[in-house]
Structures are given as C-alpha cells and as structure tokens.
Amino acid sequence: MSGIARIQKRIDETRKPASTSNAPGRELWFRDGDQVFMSSIATGAEDDKFLDEIYLYTLRVGNGFTNVLKDDRVDTSAIPDENRPSHKFAVWAYVHNVIHTEKRNDDWEEVEGPAGKKMYREDINDFRIISLSFGRSDYIWNQLVDVYSDWGALNKGVIRVKRTGQGMYDTSYSITATPKQDVIPEDKMAELDDLPLIKDYFFERYGTFTLPEGGLTDDKDDDELF
C-alpha cells in the first residue's frame, strides 16, 4: 500500500465512529459519490430478522466520534440531554462492490464510463450492514419501500445505493432497484445463520458508554455522519 493510501486509511478509520467493542465492524460507510451494489438478504416481510430500526447517538469524543446505541440494555444516562439519537433503519445485505469517484486504494479497479469518465470499483463480496437515517419526511426510507413495492420483496435483485454530497444539509441518498439479479455464492449463503440480529450487532458494537474524562467535544463536525 502506498504512503498516501496508508495515511488516507488511517484518516478514514478515525473518521468512522469508533466502536465501543472489539467486534469486527460490518457496517458500510459511504463517502460523497459512492455507489454500493448490494443484494439484500432482508426480505422486508413481517418476520424479517435482517431488517430493523435503531436509535443511535453519535458523540464527538476528542478528535473522533463514538456511537452509542439507544437501547434498554444500554445505560445512556451520562449522555447530555441535548444530544439526540438519530433514527436509522438497517439491513443486512450481500455487498458486491462499491464504486468510488476517487481512487484511495491501489486494489480498486478503474472503470471507464461514457465520455471517458473514470470511477473505481472496490470489490467487497461479503455481508455488510447498510444503515441509513430515514431522511427528511422519510424520503430515504420511502425509496426502500418503493423497491419493496416494485419487487414484492427486497431480495429480488441488486439494489444500488448512492450517496451525493458531504455535509449534514447537502447530503442525499438514492436507493434504486436495478434490473440485475445476482446470486449470492453458496458458501456465503451458508454463513447466513451466523449473522447476528441487527439490534444485537449494534448492541455488541455500540452498547457500552462511559463519559470520557474530558467530557464530550462541543464543536460538532457533521461531515461523514450521514
């Protein structure tokens, strides 16, 4: 890995909200322009264990962020009242790849589009959790509902999720059903039973919180939070 990429990776890591546990992270984080191609394993049906909603505090601690799950099992009494949890929905999906607008890793493959425009494909080929806020007037959630209505279930094809914008007020997401149907490899399908429930995963990752000695940092940088 080149020096640039190595330093960039460290920056990326520090900008992701830190876990409160050592469990490996399975969430997918979006940057401006990223396009994720995923096959949902959540169906959207009544008893779907791969789709859920959560409330998550995102707190600034030092130079980084810490997420804390709002859950009956988690003591959040130390979090000041002015911090409001964000309401999110989360799905387990088999993520095929992520298309980036900038090359931040040597392993990403260049893809050339119409008029010579270049993007970069990061192959994932693994299960990830996509968690997104519901959006103003539930506009992000409604797009997922549209896919469900169109297909009759969420797991009927490849879904594209695209992030556009950077800040709290100029970031938007589009969730689109694509015509592609891609089969999840059999060996990966065998891992399905081992995937934790959404709430359990978030509890494992963000289920403990201790107020740091210096307290929470006030100046909230909203970049990369959505």
């Binding site: 191609f37 589009g113 119409p114 490849v158 059903a177 592609k180 149907q181 891609d182």
Partner: protein
Amino acid sequence: MSVVTNSSFQHDIDSLRSVLEVAPTLVVDVETNGLEPYKSNQICGVGVGEPNHLGLMQYYPFRHHQGENLTFEKLQQLINLLNGSVKTYIGYNIKFDLHFLNNEGLEVLSKKLVDVIVMARLIEHSDIKELGLTPTGKRRVGPEAVQYDIDTKKVLRSNKWNKDFSLAPPDILGEYCKKDVSLTADLYERFTKEVQRTKQQRIFDMQCDLTKVLYKMERRGIPIDVNYAKRSKDSISQRLQEVEQEIFRIADTEFNVSSPAQIGEVFTSLGIESPVKTPKGKDSWSEAALVSINHRLAGLIRQYRTLEKLVSTYIEPYVDTDVMHTSFCNWGTATGRLSSRGPNLQNIPRNHFKLGERDLSEEERANIKGKIAATVSAKGISMNTELSDDVLKTWSFVGDESYDSQDSSQISIRRLFVPRKGYSLVGFDYSQMEVRVFMYHFRNKKIDEILSKDDVDFHSEAAKLAFKVDESSDKFKEYRQAAKAITFGTIYGIGNTKLSQQLNTSPREAGQYKKQYFAAMEGSKDFFDKAVNKVALDGQIRSKYGRLYKIQRDFGYKGVNYLVQGLSADLLSERMLEVDKYLDGKKSNLLLQVHDEIICEIHDSELESVPYKIKELLKNNSLDIPLDVDMEIFQGSWAVKKDLKPLTFDDLIDWD
C-alpha cells in the same frame, strides 16, 4: 330468437342459465356503435346462442338510441352468468367481440376461445381470400343463408344507421344479430366435421390457444410516444410543403400531386412518357413508373407520395393514442402466417427517413440503385434507364435501419413505440428461419452439419457446396448471392427468367446455376419435385405440422412455399404458446409478432433471467429443427437496438 325486454329478462336469462348448465359453450356476437373497443365505442347489444344453431338464441339490447333497452344492472347479471357458467366461447373473428365484452367485465382468459374464421382458413382453398362471415356463409351454406345480411345492411344504410348500429332499434338489429349467431353456429358445426375429416385437429387446437395469446397481446398493446408523433407530423408536413413547392417550380404549374391523372398531364406537357403501361395500354404513373423515369420531377413526386403515406398511415392515427392495440389475424394468410391490422406491423418501415436532401456517397448511390432495381423487379418490369445524380438524390430521404435520436431531421416510425415505465422492449428474431425450415425438409448428415453450426450463414455454405468456391475467391460474393437467390427462389417458386433478372444474367445461365445448386444440396430437388407432384396429383399438400393446403393443381410450386412458410409460421405459433405459458405469473409480456420476430416487454426485475429463458424456449421445438434466435434490447424505443447480453455491474453505474 327473442329480443330480450325488461319484462322477459328473468325468464330469458333463466333459460340461458339452464342451457349453460347442460352445455357451457356459447356462441357470442356483439353489435356496437363503432369499431374501436379501446376508444369510446361500446356494445349496444349482445347476441348469444347455443352452438346447435337451432337452439336458444337471444339478443340483449343495452345502448340503442331507440326502442327498449335493458338496464345496466341486467347487463351485469348477464356478464355474471357468463363468467360463472361458460367454459368455451365461439365467435366469428371472436377477439373483436371479446374486447368489447371484456370492457363490460367479461372474463376471457380463463375460457377456451374458438374462432370460426380460423376454422375457415384451415378448411377453405388457399386461393380464397374473402373469409368474412357473409362470403364464407354464402360459399358454405348458400346465398339464401346470407340474404339477411344484404337486406339488413340496406335498411341500415337507408336510415344512415350503418356507421353506428346503436342508432337502429333493437328489433331490427336483434334479428340481424340472431342470424349472425345462427350462421356462426352453423359454420362451426360444418367446420368441426371438416377439421376432423381433414385430420387438422392438432393444428386447430393450437390455433384456439393462439387466439387467446393474441387476444392478450392485443389487449396489452404497446405504448406510443405521442409527443414524438406530434413532432414528426409537424416536421414531415413542413417537408411536404418544401417538396411540393419544388415540384410546382419544376412543373411550372400547380397541380394535385396526389392525382395520377394530373401527374400524367404534367409529364405529357413536359414531353415525358411513362415506361410502364396500364393493361389498357395507357401511361401508368404508378410507383414502378415513377422510379423508372429519369427526371427529378418523378423522384420528387415519389418522395412526396411516400412521406404523405407515412404521415397518414403511421403517424396521424397515433397523435392522440397512448397505446397501440394492433389486431392480429391468425386467419389472415393462406400459409398460416400471422397478419395484423391497425396498423399492419409487417409494413412498418425498419429504416428511418431523412427530411431534406443531401449529397450521396458512391456506396449510397449503389444502394439506392439496388433498391430501385428491387422495386422495379418486384413489379415484373425490366428497367433500362440509368438515373442521373439529381434524380438519385431525391431518394436520399430514405435512410437505413440505424436511428440517431440526436438528429432531429431523422424520422423513424419505430421510434413511436416505447416501453412502459419499468420495462424494456426486447426482440427475439429467428435467424434465417425459412432457410432452416426449407433445409429441414431434406435434412441429411451434410445439412445437419450446416444447421448445427454457430452463427452460420446458410447462403455462404450453400455457395461453397454448390459452386465449389470458398470465401477467398474474388467471386465468392457473387456466388453467395446466386445461392441465396436460388434458395429463396425455390421457396417462393420463381422461374429462370425472374432468377436471371435478380442475378443479372441470362435465363439459361440462371438455369445452370440452379442445376448445380440442386445437385449439391442433396435432396433439395427431390423435395421440390415431390411437393410439385403431390399438388399436381391431389390438389392439396399437408405440412409436417398437419396443416392441409388446398392448391390449384397447376401451381405446384406454391406447395413448396406453403410447406416452408406455413411450417415456419406454425412453429412460431407453437413457440409463442410456450413463451406465454412461461410468462404466466410474471410481470413480462408478449407484445408483438412481426415477420419472424417476437417483441416482448420485459420487466426490469426480470431482465436478468426471463429473456434468456424465452430465447431457449423459442429455440426448442416439437420438430427438433435446429433454430437460432437473435436477442436484442431496444433502447428507449423500437428504433434503436443492441444485442442483449447479461448485465454487468458496470452497466448499472450511475455516471452522472
């Protein structure tokens, strides 16, 4: 027959119910206030009858402008009874009636549909073109059986009720409808016996199923880009004015460009004679005549006529039509091929039209000369005139099959047809189907080898076999053309003289080529001779699918044509039925069938799997003929196509 009244309704519908309880088969015929079930036209009455044409016959009037109508609650009661009791509907051109009845709530797709006009096609001599109820009734039952039609139409015309039957009172139209139902039932009875006697039950059963599939396709229809239709109409109208002005300038007078008589006068005044004469020996100013005249005026008049026809036939009817519902006729041709009306899909131009005149390249000039030669040859005329460049330039408005949506001077009729939201149009085109079916009739080891090759060009293979040449030869292209002309010449039964015109050689040499071809294509001559002899001996010939063609004994070559074209058509129908079964419960639909091509609308969620399965289903067939299918996806409209290949993730990237 009773014309049902509000007071007799309960008794009449009870009688109908009793009849249906015993035998759930019904002959139906509707009377309407027009011919457009998808627009504002509606039924004004429904005629029903037992297939035994002497049994129950009733007419239920609902929307007559005079006399007693039944209430709409009673219409609903009738529809409910039919939905619950009838298993088979019999009718004459039944899809027309069922579209109207479906608008009133009649269930169609769960029923068996028997179209007596389709039976007529199977039974009647191949020379008979008039298959309507009246001419068929007259031929089969006798002139007295159709006298009612002549008499009633006279009454309808004299009262000006003939354009809108709802203007006539129920007692007149009810009686007329009764006779239609009775005659349909009578013909059904006669043709059923004939179908069995001529051993065409299998093909008839298939046609019944096909009728339902075609009904579904018609019902679904294909969306029209109305805005494009309007824009195109305006652009062509403007171009027509320009062309007309130039015509007047050259002729030095204004006249009606659509009038052959006035065109004749103008040419005569310019000292130009037509190279084509009418049967009475007068100058003809037909298409074939105009293309043969080396004068710019002739070229411009031809261009004017073509553009005018383009607007009136393919654009004008669609400027206020959101969805086109063509009518498919599985009785429309003697061979068994489908035809269609409103519009005739076979005639929709594949090429685009360029509004304006431009300089032509050498290649384009050669292509145009080829097109002119084909037009003239098709009319059986030999053309000796060499056209000058300024005449050839008047043809530059005819483009090729490509279409550039960015070029506003291009007009493509196929561009009118667009997919619904969430769907893509996908075409499945049989590759060289007729040639494959032709070869199937004399298949042997050598032919099987050719048929099983991937992406095979049969004409090249035939040229190699017949004329012992290979692709490296300078003359290969010429020999390939000869092989192609002979193959199709055999299928379509052309003689040495016409073949020599196509090959630009003498009839003797054409005959020589043919001899070589038949000698090399082992079995082909035998197949041809057997078919010709069979027709000469029996006056009929049966296809491998069981369809029986009655042909004049002197026209044996038609036997070859009917066997090849007919078998191709029946195979296509067989495969469409399989595709329809497969699509049951899916979001994708069959939409159109034109030539050897099927157009489907594939839902986005099924684009990855359904087209590939359809292709597989189309290649399989009960006769085990190695068929091949090209699959193309139309981009944005029917005008732009590309090969359909499995989607990659890169195809899904949003590049904006």
